[in-house]
């Protein structure tokens, strides 16, 4: 009996955003006001005071990184965490899409 070959499944940008959204919810205090998290939501404040921002500090970031490692096995290289290039949820999702290897078991 022949088995049908399956293509390794790549992480999509939308799936990465969903995963980060889950992580943000786990970092937040249970009684914190709910906040919409989109790809343009910033982790920390920038120059624009009107930009939606989670107000993360380095310890929130630690929790999020550990959440993504433990829940999904996605390990962000340290040198990518401090990059000026990613400030928003979308920036991190793009990094995830880039670094997470394709997996046949991802659903």
């Amino acid at each position: 009996m022949s088995r049908e070959a399956t293509e390794p499944e790549e992480l999509t940008y939308a799936a990465a955003i969903d995963a980060i959204r889950l992580g943000v919810a786990s970092v937040r205090e249970p009684d914190a006001p709910s906040q919409e998290v989109t790809n343009s939501t910033a982790f920390w404040a920038g120059e624009d005071p009107d930009e939606p921002c989670l107000g993360f500090d380095s310890l929130d970031l630690l929790e999020l990184v550990i959440f993504l490692e433990e829940r999904f096995g996605w390990e962000i290289p340290e040198e990518r965490i401090d990059a000026q290039g990613w400030r928003t949820v979308g920036d991190l999702a793009a990094v995830m899409v880039e670094i997470v290897p394709a997996s046949p078991s991802r659903s």
């Binding site: 500090d57 380095s58 310890l59 970031l61 630690l62 929790e63 550990i66 962000i76 340290e78 965490i81």
Partner: protein, 301 residues
């Protein structure tokens, strides 16, 4: 006395090599730098006030004066020699800084968060630990001579101003490497825990509690008393990480440091941390350090 005199003594200290860590010339240098330090009066006044507020039965001004001498020795004698004579300094530290108690504690406890307050000679203690068999990953508030004194600094130093610092420390622990963190110097925008230190409120960095919980590793409190350029590091019993309340381990750690400082108040260089205006005081003292270093840098060329 002009800056030239201070610079000349600094050059002479560098020439002395391992004999420069203590002795008459060292005392002369400490006194001279102390007289010229722009923040001397602020530092000693604030230190005396902090000691008094914490209720120590001491001559607060006399203790503050000794703390300031230790501060100058730490920031200018030890760092001068670390920068100008790194090999000599490394050999001196290996000979005079006994870290066997820390090594034994880590062997028993496994990968741990070594933690202490900023005591006299702390850059040399950090260097001693970096050179030890355990070689913990060392977190630092600022880039300084330690980063340039031991070859590949990025292998053993992490700067807490970096957003990835806490991640790097936690990953090190989870992969079996101990780390070294100090909680008493709180940089602006760092999350804090309000603790009781000698019955007085004091903010310390909150990161250790979270790193302990996420890594599952204990905190091993460390202390030392520097005398004549020599010391034996001491440790207290490991503190277990809280599963839910991260702050518990921070409070327990501060209690261990308070007990040591009560017995050896001249060893702690950051007494003004107990004052509400600590951030501004720290910044002013740092500006003073930078001003003195700017003049002393001539001794390094």
């Amino acid at each position: 006395v002009s800056d030239e005199a201070m610079i000349a003594v600094a050059r002479e200290l560098v020439r002395l090599g391992d004999g420069a860590f203590s002795g008459a010339l060292t005392d002369e240098f400490v006194a001279e730098v102390g007289r010229r330090h722009p923040a001397r009066d602020l530092y000693t006044r604030s230190t005396a006030e902090a000691i008094a507020r914490c209720g120590l039965q001491e001559d607060c001004e006399a203790v503050a004066g000794e703390v300031f001498s230790n501060f100058v020795w730490t920031h200018f004698v030890s760092k001068l020699l670390m920068a100008a004579a790194p090999a000599v300094t490394a050999a001196f530290v290996a000979e005079n800084f006994n870290v066997s108690a820390v090594e034994a504690a880590l062997e028993a406890a496994g990968p741990s968060i070594l933690s202490c307050f900023h005591y006299s000679g702390y850059p040399l203690v950090a260097l001693a630990l970096a050179m030890s068999a355990e070689a913990p990953l060392i977190s630092k508030a600022r880039v300084d001579v330690l980063d340039r004194s031991g070859g590949s600094a990025s292998d053993h130093v992490v700067h807490i101003s970096s957003r990835s610092a806490a991640v790097r420390l936690t990953r090190a622990l989870r992969s079996g490497r101990s780390v070294w963190v100090s909680l008493d110097v709180v940089l602006p925008s760092v999350r804090v825990v309000r603790t009781r230190f000698l019955e007085h409120g004091m903010n310390v960095g909150a990161g250790m509690g979270k790193i302990a919980r996420l890594s599952g590793c204990p905190c091993v409190p460390v202390f030392w008393r520097l005398r004549h350029g020599q010391t034996h590091l001491q440790t207290a019993a490991p503190l277990s990480p809280g599963r839910e309340v991260e702050e518990g381990i921070v409070h327990a750690f501060v209690n261990t440091q308070a007990e040591f400082i009560r017995r050896h108040p001249t060893q702690w260089l950051e007494w003004y941390s107990v004052l509400d205006e600590a951030p501004a005081l720290r910044e002013e003292v740092k500006r003073g350090n930078d001003a003195v270093w700017e003049r002393l840098s001539e001794a390094l060329v």
